[in-house]
Symmetry: D2
Subunit: 343 residues, 4 copies
């Protein structure tokens, strides 16, 4: 079985990962690659890492007509631009996994506050599914439109949801101190993303309220029925890939949290709760679609939970493929690695 | 004026920085360099970075007799080993700046809990001064023994003390999420400090209670008369130098915190409170003895304070020289840079 | 079809890559993992990157008896130690891919000069095949013992052999200036491999004659019937993976070299000759089993050839799996990626 | 004594280093800082590393009138733009150290070939001095215009000139394989200089003939009276600072080269010939104005010479200050470090 796929926005870092994953996927086949600024070039000119079947494809424009035989469209386009391509693809009867934020916020006011944009197609929000796969599998299987979660929210919601569901966490004092590799900032030519500015330096950013804080609060609430407030401080770190979220929590029965999380994810191939007392490293998930979680109880009422993902995989393109696998009834692990390359 | 100096423990990273700083210092002159494991070698064999007057000196053993004309001894030795050398130097009438933890804890039980060591000379604790220079200048000027603060405590106490003094901070909910470059872990040959293990990876460590948490609590309390509890989570980051502490705080009048800190440090050359709304980067202090502080009020009762230092300078050898300058009545900035090399 | 495999020496960097590749391989199945120093531990304790079926295996000792159902053994052991394990495996009727240098030198004197070791089983040298796959496919298919090439020789011989075969290169003035990521130096705890010593620094090493120079000369000669001398200067670079060899050559008809190489490798999936005038980057092959080659003619008689590989893949474990695929008549690309992750 | 200084082009990486060095210099005082694109901003807004007296200065435009009391002008402007500012400064009676290439080429045709520019003021070339300080001290002391050498030429000419002067080197087969940290590529926002593109990757570039090859040939010839041809291949390396040139040479009496170089530089504080058999690392010169040289004879007729500098210091701003010291009769080492920070 071969399912025809288009990737719109294929020359940024998430696009590059989609091409790598899909060209090695046993069931999906890329038929159409598009990019706004690089249209007309060959893929390998823009992405020298690609030597597989897509390497010689010519990049189309993102708003070109989609080929007839495409069944699935990945949109890795800027916010708001994505929504237009999503609408076109849905209207043409395609399934869509959207990696932008455009369909992540059922609450339109949050979207507007976080992104400063008017949503072009609010009527589509009702039919989209927020694709945190482990917690949305059944809905993902049925929808035509998956809103692929943001990287920070993925790294935070996976450890938080099972604890919240058990009502073990004080929801008004959640502090998330997150650290991201630089690939999360994208591929645009900006002085402050130059090698020499990032290397051997680190900084906090995004205060007072980063876009992803809304997403975390909205979905932590939606999944668990609680009113969740987070204080979220992201940092940029001199490394390419890797995201580590240190979650400082108050609550109760903290000594039991490790087993709550272990139980919740024991059958999940892409979520690994480390043995009690162990803390994860991002190096152990780099290149994989795995999330690793460590838990340390400081007292009965205080705990630190640390989670690690590869921001471009479980935090973006890997989870997008995971969702696509579910949408088409494939083995959820198809085309994805649970192992990291070491070193 | 030339003041004879000895550096004991001169081939680790803090020792290397002491040699670099002291050989360029207008008033101190290194007469004696010692190191346990490398004794007998020339300095430049062990530290290829040194081409100044010390380069051709032969490394003595740390417990050799100190030359008669040494007036000041820096001890950059392992905890407990340092105490013995400090004792000898004091007995011989020298002044001492000790970079180990041996004299940082007036509360012996804390020392024992944090380091798992019996203190060999508890009677000396009474005469040592904790050298957070900006807050201990007068005492440093009078003592023969400065306990040079730890890197994490320096980065945390500088922003915290003025706020605590004004009773603006809720002392029971202080969360410190700190990130350190790898040089803080020292120069010992360990697998988990290899380039390939550290590069492109990051991790939290030191839980449930890192040694420096006791030091922060003890001195935050001592300086301000309050009972301070910190939850402290340090992280190791793939960069050589740089320390960033993100301090998540509750309190009151947070909108005023920026001016409290600006006022407190307005005359301090080595502490720079950034303009309101700006956040510091470690790159801006790398190679300098500067601490940079940024403050963001999230609400009237919640704030984030971020501080950056070079862990080997203001966090170790730079502050050691700053203290030595004060001990000998020199210009406090002698031999120290407030600028960083960029990039 | 499932072919039982053992990996001896599985906790170094090449061993870690073998586990990652083999656990995702459609036809090989790891039955036995061994390591000298880490025997008794679980794989995931030593390699936190592994979460696949091998993660929970217990590491045996490298000289334990091999399970009956193992058909293939990878030896990623230190030089000389490897030979003993190879002998045992061959005696037990297994096929072997040896990643050490023990069977790379038909000329025993070269082996002795390069490694300073007496060879324990010189009689086995006659039956081993040097596995530069693209140039040894037929012999690899027939042998029980493949000597997997060194990383530097792989990066040099691939571009050099076709040019030498056409007698276009002056064989007495070959200069190879090679640069390697630090993973090539292995996982042993040494001060000069610490993160802080490698990061932000580079150096030449291995002069006057690095071990791999003999290997290059011997095999360039063996494949082409010429007496080849190389001047080889390797460098260590602050990055984890990646090897770039800049080959400075004199010869004739240099304008034709690009087409000679393009023709030689046009059907090879793992060797990519870039368009005329383009130069390769190691980033484009990181994580892949690809070798990329660029050629620039400086004049009719002078040229620069640059090649890039991932030193742990095409330079070690990737080529080992490629050879294993050939030995068992499998698709040569099975379990190997031609794409790199970008970034 | 305080000598008033202007820096034109002060917000790139060489400009930043000039500010850092000059603000700590005992005799120079910055009166005027200019930058094209950042005019109107405060220095600390563009260079967060600067907290010294220049931090609060407002950046002027590079073509504004120079203050009356400036005696010395550093031009760190783009090629061709620099020449105009140099002309204006000379006309106003100032001394100038120009860090661009505009006055490095007495041979106008070389300038034109290398930079593709028409020279605006060829008449000034006669009065400029090429400031490779160790070999031009007397002329530098007398001139009003120093053309500060390029980074690669500095790293190559320092080791090469003494050997050429002794007629020990075959001048037709010089091969230079050079590696540079990324700061050499400047601070302009370009996709291929982004952190994620440079990190964990390396590449050769600049073929067939990089601009600096002309400069090397011209000055190797001018200093030694020989016709020197170089084959020069530069590489970009994932590190911020550091330049290593591996010079592959044929010649005669190679066993004596080490003592030729040692003798030539024995009294030079900024050039250090390592003990026989030792090879330099860039880490040992990072942040210093030192050049380190290692020599290995491969035979009587073949040798490898390796040199290391910090490309922004001895390769640019450090040497510029060294030249300025000479021009004003100051201690040549004023304001410059021979030690590197380690690590």
């Amino acid at each position: 079985m071969s399912i025809g796929v288009a990737v719109l926005g294929s020359t940024g870092y998430t696009g590059a990962e989609l091409i790598r994953l899909l060209d090695a996927h046993p069931h999906f086949e890329i038929l159409h690659l598009a990019a706004h600024s690089q249209a007309g070039k060959k893929v390998s000119e823009v992405l020298p890492s690609i030597a597989s079947q897509s390497a010689n494809k010519t990049l189309a424009k993102a708003d070109d007509v989609l080929p007839h035989d495409v069944e699935l469209v990945f949109t890795a386009l800027p916010h708001a631009a994505a929504a237009k391509s999503v609408k076109k693809a849905l209207d043409a009867g395609k399934k869509v996994v959207d990696l932008s934020a455009d369909f992540r916020h059922p609450n339109l006011i949050n979207y507007q506050d976080a992104y400063g944009l008017e949503h072009p197609f609010p009527e589509l929000l009702g039919s989209s599914v927020y694709g945190l796969t482990e917690h949305a599998r059944e809905d993902v299987a049925k929808t035509n439109l998956v809103a692929n979660p943001g990287c920070y929210p993925t790294s935070v919601l996976l450890p938080l949801i099972p604890l919240l569901k058990q009502k073990l966490v004080e929801t008004s004092s959640i502090i998330i101190d997150a650290k991201s590799g630089t690939s999360g900032a994208g591929r645009a030519a900006k002085t402050d993303l130059l090698y020499c500015e990032i290397n051997e330096s680190m900084a906090a950013y995004g205060l007072p309220k980063h876009r992803h804080a809304w997403e975390m609060e909205e979905w932590a609430g939606a999944y668990t029925g609680q009113d969740v407030q987070v204080r979220f401080v992201p940092h940029i770190i001199p490394m390419t890939r890797g995201m580590l979220s240190t979650i400082h929590l108050n609550g109760k029965k903290c000594e039991q949290w490790h087993s709550v999380l272990s139980d919740a994810y024991q059958d999940e191939p892409f979520v690994n709760v480390l043995p009690l007392g162990k803390l994860p490293t991002t190096g152990a998930v780099k290149g994989s679609n795995r999330c690793e979680i460590g838990v340390v109880a400081l007292s009965e009422a205080e705990a630190v939970v640390v989670s690690c993902i590869d921001n471009l995989l479980k935090g973006a393109s890997g989870q997008a493929v995971q969702n696509a696998n579910v949408m088409f009834g494939l083995d959820e692990m198809s085309g994805l690695s649970i192992n990291a390359a070491w070193p």
